[in-house]
Symmetry: C2
Subunit: 338 residues, 2 copies
Amino acid sequence: MGKVTLSDVAQAAGVSIATASWAINDNKKVRIPEATRVKVRKVADRLGYRPNALAKGLAQGASSLIGFVADGVATTPFAGQMIAGAQEEAWAHGKLLLVVNTNGETALEESALALLREHQVQGVIYSTWYHRSVAFPKGLEGIPTVLVNCFDDDNSHAVVVPDEEQGGYAATSELLKAGHRRVMFLNTVSPSPARTDRLKGYRRALDEWGVAFDEALVVPVRPDQDGGYAAARTVVKSGVEAVFCHNDRVAMGLYDGLKERGVSIPDDVSVVGFDNQEVISAHLHPALTTVGLPHYELGVLGVRRLLAMDEIPSEEGADQLRTLVECPTVRRDSVRTL
Amino acid sequence: MGKVTLSDVAQAAGVSIATASWAINDNKKVRIPEATRVKVRKVADRLGYRPNALAKGLAQGASSLIGFVADGVATTPFAGQMIAGAQEEAWAHGKLLLVVNTNGETALEESALALLREHQVQGVIYSTWYHRSVAFPKGLEGIPTVLVNCFDDDNSHAVVVPDEEQGGYAATSELLKAGHRRVMFLNTVSPSPARTDRLKGYRRALDEWGVAFDEALVVPVRPDQDGGYAAARTVVKSGVEAVFCHNDRVAMGLYDGLKERGVSIPDDVSVVGFDNQEVISAHLHPALTTVGLPHYELGVLGVRRLLAMDEIPSEEGADQLRTLVECPTVRRDSVRTL
DNA sequence: TTGAAAGCGCTAACAA
DNA sequence: TTGTTAGCGCTTTCAA
């Protein structure tokens, strides 16, 4: 029965409805003797009492809902992972996730945000499926918001993003550590933080190992299998023995291209990917060593950040506004140690 | 401002709060003169009035929320597609999706369902990431529910699932139509509707083309890249010229194995996959012809079915209980026409 | 420590 | 056609 109300419980327990409420919610401001608390609880259980979240929210002026806005749930597995992370963290705090998909369309987004508002969401996670800059949506003004996997240019909001620089560094280091010195970087052609910052990481790793940066070894590719496939030619011609690919899809294409040329991975060429897109990386031959994009974590930290906004006075200093999440190295079999 | 209430609007428009409500909601039971309706609407717009969904829900005894239960959002892209479909269809009806991920754990599921109940969801979509049978959850009793991508054994609930038989038929036909006669079927070893029904479809297609069924051509494989990779040997040895793979991952492994043996696709062997897992199928060399699993559609039809349950008297006859969704053929370049 | 009661914002009888 | 008003189920102030 979902029809048991608090007043039913109160009546059955022989207390007032207010007392019942306090007993059940462990209200800090009121001291209820253990005895009555236990009694009320027991009655509630027996009756199968379940609070009505709507009534609760109405009375408190806020629901226990968190809005999750995504720009492409169906497009990639990435959105799913962020949702999963956000959902789990929210749940751990007794909140539920109201998920909304905008397909990147502003019109849809507007009405989506309006709907979330109507449902009195406590705050919203605004996410994008690939790391990029966004214009902060008007509709979000006045609602606690954290940008996940994206950021606004004026830098005035809470942001949780992957640490691309560290990721680029980690990927490159993996090759350097294995003893390789001429490391090619198949970087994406599309302008993005991924492109810029992974390159920075690549250079920092080179620096650290005392390897001179060679512009010719950074080659621009389309960020998918075709890009990697096409690059195989360049890789072979250059004679490098190690390649850091912008992402796993590029690596997948490169595998294909290299195999067709009779080049063996990792015996002839070591390869490192990026993203850790399981369906690819874990199942290539040989399995691909790569650096993971922490989507699940982004979701978790996004919600955590959001929920912390209540507690922390909003003036925190801009340094606390941006959370960088580490990209973990996933070692498999595509790197040969010299 | 999110603080404008209906009574503010009423006051500003010089009408009663009830009139305002009617004017705004286009209530059918009450005839409001166009003039006042317009006036109220205008005032509401000017003030930026937004209804409070919690209050509305409380007053009406039901929210405009639909629960979406998934058993593995992070695991595959499939869940994401179902969510996207469900979300969009829900939205088209003014509903929002409350998404909950159980990771397949019963304990989590129980409290998830309890939470959904507390939020007075109108109904729930209970989904699984791969097509399988489930025990209908106790916690769902009494709530309008539709099972999506899964079904209960006693067949007493609304179900929306992919038409695996038709899918198997479509995949096989694709090869037969191209002129191939000896078609190997790399079927999964794990018991599932996919295994059983795709096989049925395979046989039906064979029948239809007058090709005798050869048991030896149905070979069991692990349903992933390794399975396909290992099967390459069998394929080559058998000398077949066409292979229908249980899924795209198997096909991906088979590509690898075949390439290593110098066998060319589709010149020597034509290959058809299943699932249409874009990241794989669209980017293999050659691109893979496959049959899609209609996850997005499953989501759409799931909520459509759910919303229809109100309108249709629950006694509908069991024949209406099960909705089969077509698996579409996606033609690319891995099949050679003789 | 407990109870009575006033809302939270909206809907829907029931009257007028 | 419109207004009055009694809830929906719960929280929380104020008294007792």
